[in-house]
Amino acid sequence: MKVAFWPGCVSKGACPELYVSTRKVAEALGIELVELYEAACTGAGVLSEQNPALADSLNGLTLAMAEKVGADLMTICSTCQGVLSNHNYHLKRDPQRLQAANEAMAGSGYEYRGTTEVKHLLWLLVEDVGLDKIRSLVKVKLTGLKIAPFYGCYILRPSEYLGLKERPERSTYLEQLIEIVGGTPVEYMGKTKCCGFPMIMMNKDKSLAMGANHILEAKDKGADLLVTPCPLCHLNLDAQQPDAARVVKKVIDTPIFHLPQLLGLAFGYTPEELRLNHHVVPTTRALEKVELKV
């Protein structure tokens, strides 16, 4: 299977472990990644809000690049997914917006015709690769690990843009994958809530409290770790966790895994290969539970 691959900025920046583990998992599953090296940042919603036409065209260009590859566009970041889905939804339905976006990218060698589907790795795994194929590749069962799914916002809401109206089961994929790798999903209220990242600059303490609350709730329900499909959630939940613990005055100390890191472990990659030794919150204790070491 071939996909046009948009890794997003953060997997090439502060979360390189996400990029590395995605490559590994894709290799194991036989997904050919045609990376869009020439695509621009989606604008993370910030550009969409201040200049919708600009964001239409920047994202339209990325969608056109995927169109040329002739495959679905795969993201590994919920924020990229949300922004691309949002603009794709409108560009497909509003000929005027599509025309304006294409006029602005004139001369680039690309024109968007409105045929690209944008799919996060999480959706692709369940809907295109298939659970049976994933199951057949599991070499290391993560039995005994209690794993809390953390969806965050932009892979779920607004459901209209993200295809959840047609496929409401998309809100259960993390749990399905956790079970396939042998873990036990932890049910908790915070799993579909906001990590706080979008307002970390504007209101740091409240943003960190938001993230801390969800991790603590999962921990209270027995979670050994959280798994997320979004590197921005990862930044707020992992990189900021020491600060967040200070804000809520509690010990948190709960590791946060990227989705492909979890699958990679089950596929037999070592924690080092998946850069699980490069997290701010040590992953050691969770890994020891399944007799893995970093």
Binding site: S57, S108, G196, K206, M210, V280
Partner: protein, 335 residues
């Protein structure tokens, strides 16, 4: 058809207490909400019945002490917003058949709001926020000849979405910023604020924008889309908040982290095609905001120690001229 309805009951201290299964303390940020007693009722109702039909049936035929607030039963009055399976909904338009996963539906007052009794929460916090945004027109003076204001149809079309708001409070009940910051103005009030700010008859546009861009205003929304998701009338409060942000920036209210963040973001994409995480944080916080700059150092140090600090040399994407051209054509303030 028989339905199973689990109702979260609460009575203030001193009043007869409900019997049933005592629920636990809510997880943070709702830990201050009093625990409820959950009672299970069986109700016979047809397939098309709503959750509110079940609650009324329970009150009429099984337990007259159940407190429910409702009136129109047609999604107009906005009285019956409450939690259905953990999300704010109008129970009058929520079908039992669509909200009974696993064969039951759980209905309770949202823990984000003060509770009065059973399913009735105290909405005064909601109304206080609404009043705080001056939710009425302050007309331009003098009144034009003919004693009425005339506005082009297009100018009002932009406001229709917010005008559909029935003030049910569902958006505030599930607002994630409000959950951690009780002073946040909140989605409904800010959507209402947009409705009057964007009204061509209003004379206080600039004053309003200044007020709404202050702390606890438009920039304190965490952009989680919960309000868009739960609004039963398609108001999409977040979309209105984002329009207010843009209006505020365009009107010159730019000395805030939100605007600096957007500017730094745009500059980075324009000049390299990608986000430069190293410069984004200091630029957003403002170079002279020394405490905030220091405050971001521990996180940067933690990233460095974990070997996660973004590359010090920020690379440009190939064929950057394509991106620059798009910015040149429609960049607006980001040109």
């Amino acid at each position: 058809m028989q339905w199973t309805v689990v109702v979260g009951r609460y009575s203030p201290p001193g009043e007869p207490q409900p019997k049933g299964e005592l629920g636990g303390i809510f997880p943070p940020p709702y830990e201050k909400a009093p625990p409820k007693t959950y009672q299970t009722f069986k109700v016979d109702l047809p397939d098309h019945a709503m959750v509110l039909d079940a609650l009324i049936a329970i009150r009429e035929y099984q337990d007259e002490s159940l407190a429910v607030r409702c009136a129109c039963r047609s999604a107009i009055c906005g009285s019956c917003a409450m939690w259905v399976n953990g999300h704010a909904r109008l129970v009058c338009t929520s079908k039992l058949s669509e909200h009974s996963p696993g064969g039951k539906v759980t209905v309770e007052a949202p823990p984000s709001m003060p509770i009065i009794k059973d399913l009735v929460c105290d909405m005064s916090v909601f109304w206080k926020k609404n009043r705080a945004v001056t939710p009425f027109l302050e007309n331009k003076q003098p009144i034009p000849d003919g004693q009425e204001y005339r506005v082009p149809n297009e100018a009002m079309e932009n406001l229709i979405q917010e005008v559909s708001c029935i003030s049910c409070g569902a958006c505030l009940m599930d607002c994630e910023s409000f959950a951690v910051n009780q002073d946040f103005t909140g989605p409904a009030a800010l959507a209402k604020a947009y409705r009057y700010t964007a009204d061509p008859r209003d004379a206080q546009t600039k004053e309003r924008l200044g007020e709404y861009s202050a702390p606890n205003g438009v920039w304190d929304c965490t952009h989680c889309y919960e309000c868009v998701q739960v609004c039963p009338k398609g108001v999409a409060p977040l979309d209105q908040i984002l329009k207010l942000r843009k209006m505020a920036v365009d009107a010159g209210f730019t000395n805030n982290t939100g605007t600096r963040h957007a500017d730094a973001f745009a500059e980075s994409v324009r000049d390299s095609g990608r986000l430069n995480e190293l410069t984004l944080v200091p630029k957003s916080l403002g170079f002279f905001n020394i405490p905030a700059q220091f405050g971001s150092l521990p996180a940067a140090f933690n990233l460095l120690r974990a070997g996660k600090l973004p590359p010090l040399i920020h690379h440009k994407i190939p064929h950057l001229e394509r991106i620059k051209n798009i910015f040149k054509k429609i960049g607006g303030r980001f040109k």
